[in-house]
Symmetry: C2
Subunit: 213 residues, 2 copies
């Protein structure tokens, strides 16, 4: 898709929020909605939602608002989640195993199809239906298996090495749970998960009691 | 703090992003910044940053912008992260254990001080310095131990039961990794972590190659 304007990364994150809100409305058999109603549902302003959507086209119908099913499908297509993604996992320690078994990924179309570790006791095993290979073999194994997205779930000290191995195998999109910076070539996108930020959100409401509800 | 306006939940999430950007600037010994420079750093508009900050007061100095150290400390105070929080963890399966061992929490001032499970093989043990109690005992154990925030890392089928136990122990702020809805009294705040949303962000950039960089 050729677009005149660069889309802010935060707009992309909000599309996921809108898709979830629309999924919920669809499940409730709601046919149309508006930026005002969506705004209330997701805790943003209507202006923000209109601005985010305007990057991608004209979705509203004058006098009717948005068709829920239609807007959902358009946003899913824009996000690239109207298809299945095969995912490679680096690190099957406690976090990695939890991610292997996490059904929230599969539900949204993300299938872990291959895993890597450097522990000889784990290499060669199959966990949750997923075979574990030596991370040193990633450059040979990945091109064979169709995975396009990588997840790093190794300790911080091994994160760069794990990332290098996934990149050597051809992956360009990587989600990292390891604290600290990872260096990648310019054509590789890394997204870091910062779980502490979720606790900070709670800390705010615990500190400012009475703000919610 | 009494405030005239209700603060949007998304503004609170963005404060965490600003605090991290300011921490980075402070580490680089930067003294002042502006909403424009911060906007570039975090991928938002300057107007959004000014609007978010305006909920909490007047932080900029005309002609100088923001003092990095000062704005960092003010936001940390607003978020309630200028102190240590004691955290209770429900569920020490793979994910729970990974969270126990996750040093990103402690670094930001969140200390897991007590854990709960319903597996008799785990109850009574001490992992990573944290004692594991029977979840059925949470109502008696929690008031003794000072934890104010709870984390739920149990399977979806046990999440409501685990949450009820934490709430019975007096917790009012809960982070849940379990998929699905949890019902709580109106004075309890639950924040759900949706890891699949992070993968959707990557899916967008993998689908729209060339958008970044």
């Amino acid at each position: 898709m050729a677009r005149a304007k660069k889309i802010p990364s935060t707009t992309v994150s909000r599309l996921s929020v809108y898709v979830r809100a629309l999924q919920k409305l669809r499940n409730e058999a709601v046919v149309t909605t508006s930026s005002e109603k969506l705004a209330e549902q997701v805790g943003l302003t209507a202006a923000q939602i209109r601005k985010d959507l305007a990057y991608f086209g004209q979705f509203g119908v004058p006098g009717r608002g948005y068709y829920v099913e239609n807007l959902h499908n358009e946003l899913a297509m824009i996000l690239g989640i109207n298809r299945r993604w095969e995912v490679a996992l680096a690190g099957v320690g406690h976090l990695g195993y939890a991610l292997l078994a996490y059904n929230g990924f599969k539900k949204q179309g993300f299938d872990v199809v291959v895993a890597f570790d450097k522990d000889p006791a784990k290499i060669g095993q199959t966990w949750e239906g997923v075979k574990i290979y030596d991370i040193a073999e990633a450059r040979h194994v990945l091109p064979e298996c169709g995975a396009e997205i990588g997840i790093i779930a190794v300790p911080a000290a091994s994160a760069q090495e794990a990332c290098d191995a996934l990149v050597a195998g051809g992956l360009k999109s990587i989600l990292s749970f390891a604290p600290g910076r990872i260096i990648v070539p310019p054509d590789v996108t890394v997204k870091r998960v910062e779980l502490a930020m979720e606790l900070e959100w709670l800390s705010y409401y615990a500190t400012n009691i009475g703000e919610r509800g």
